[in-house]
């Protein structure tokens, strides 16, 4: 017990060990310092995101056009509701965690078990929600065209509403075979081909005179620029690549760095949540078998609680930076 929970030195032996100059046990203090360093790591990532965003301030994607999905609501644009829900889930699991810590202080084992269990469930729902969010982000909805110069063109109708490639792309009698190993193309490999070729998109665009092109550039009214029909046609001649969904190289939402930062920062946070859930499960079983009851101290629950709240704290910032601002 002495190794894990130090008690205050009441005998005034300054050099005798067991001192707590900051009024916190060794384990708790180290958890705080870990949190400080981890907070600096996340700040570094978010500041790097800010750097790239300031660098491409005129062409950065608009968040409320990217994250518009909500479960069981297909085709309905619901910006932010889903992440708001995720935020609630995480805040609520933070509440159950702090209730578990509170119950631990009063040595109420059954309450600790209940609240720890709820916390774990909340964490799992959050990680699952994030996986769903990633799935939508990777799959994409409309598709876009990348030009030779590396900028991204999206398609809209006369009212400025987004149009998916599938809605207008022509079907041309061309056959481009995907290179795979089992077709004896062992020396070649390539990523999955997009559903439409550049020529098909161009032909489809010609056949639909009502379509216009939207560029990445943000206007003074904080909307994306929509080109005239003539400008759109010239612009589309420079088409080079069909982009569908998102990966680490390109994404249909706009700036290439946008998807990279999204995957990296939300992924790193999701990994923290996952480790938090695993640590919570370990502590949960320790509570179940009565380890802390024997130790007469539930401080371990408090320590994982600190970590869990920290994960919630980071999410509050990720939520603001990625979805609101």
């Amino acid at each position: 017990m002495e190794a894990t929970v130090t008690t205050a030195n009441s005998e005034e032996k300054t050099w005798g060990g067991g001192n707590e100059p900051m009024g916190a046990s060794y384990g708790k203090l180290m958890m705080w310092f870990f949190i400080v360093s981890d907070a600096l790591t996340f700040s570094g990532f978010l500041a790097a995101y800010g750097f790239s965003r300031f660098k491409f301030i005129e062409t950065w994607p608009l968040a409320d056009e990217v994250f518009t999905h909500f479960p069981f609501m297909h085709g309905v644009s619901a910006p932010m509701y889903y992440v708001a829900l995720m935020t609630f889930i995480l805040i609520f699991s933070s509440v159950t965690m702090v209730l578990a810590v509170d119950a631990g202080h009063q040595m109420k084992k059954n309450k600790v078990i209940l609240y720890m269990f709820l916390t774990i469930i909340g964490g799992m729902i959050f990680v699952g929600s994030q996986a769903w969010e990633w799935k939508n982000f990777i799959k994409g909805e409309y598709g876009a065209i990348e030009t030779k110069g590396g900028s991204l063109l999206q398609f809209v109708d006369k009212d400025g509403k987004r149009v998916a490639l599938a809605d207008f792309a022509a079907t041309l009698p061309e056959d481009r075979e995907q290179l795979t190993r089992n077709k004896a193309k062992w020396f070649m490999s390539e990523p999955a081909l997009p559903s439409y070729s550049v020529a098909e998109v161009q032909a489809g665009f010609k056949a639909h005179p009502e379509l216009l092109i939207r560029t990445e550039v943000i206007t003074a009214a904080k909307q994306k620029t929509i080109l005239s029909r003539a400008e759109s046609e010239t612009r589309l001649t420079q088409a080079h690549y069909v982009v569908e969904g998102a990966n680490l190289v390109r994404n249909e939402y706009g700036s290439k760095l946008f998807a990279d930062f999204f995957f990296f920062i939300t992924g790193f946070h999701g990994f923290h949540v996952l480790s938090g859930v695993i640590i919570n499960i370990i502590i949960f079983f320790n509570v179940l078998i009565g380890t802390y009851e024997k130790r007469r101290s539930y401080e371990m629950v408090e320590k994982v609680g600190l970590y869990w709240h920290f994960v919630d704290l980071v999410w509050v910032f990720v939520f603001t930076v990625f979805y609101l601002v």
Partner: protein, 116 residues
Amino acid sequence: MSHVHVSNTGRIWKVFGILSAVTIIEVFLGILKPEFLHMNNFLGMNLLNWIFYALTIYKAYYIVWAFMHMEGEKSSLRSAVVFPLIFLILYILFILLTEGDYIYEVFKNSTIKWNF
């Protein structure tokens, strides 16, 4: 443990209420985007974003102070955790955001087009 533990579930639920209310306000503002906040800039960022960051820090304060129970710790621990963070984060933000804006200007004013 030296300090006495009293149950403060009342405060926990109050803080949960505050955090939820602030999140609802944020989502509400984010969907509405009021014109006078969204279009007026202050120090290179529009007022709406300033409000979002202020509310975020307000939430962060409650999470750290109430949930992580920072309010019950000694002031030396509070200072050891909070001040290095505030100083270093403001520092890195200042450096990186200034630099990002500088590169934006270079791209904008140069004769070479980087993305077309």
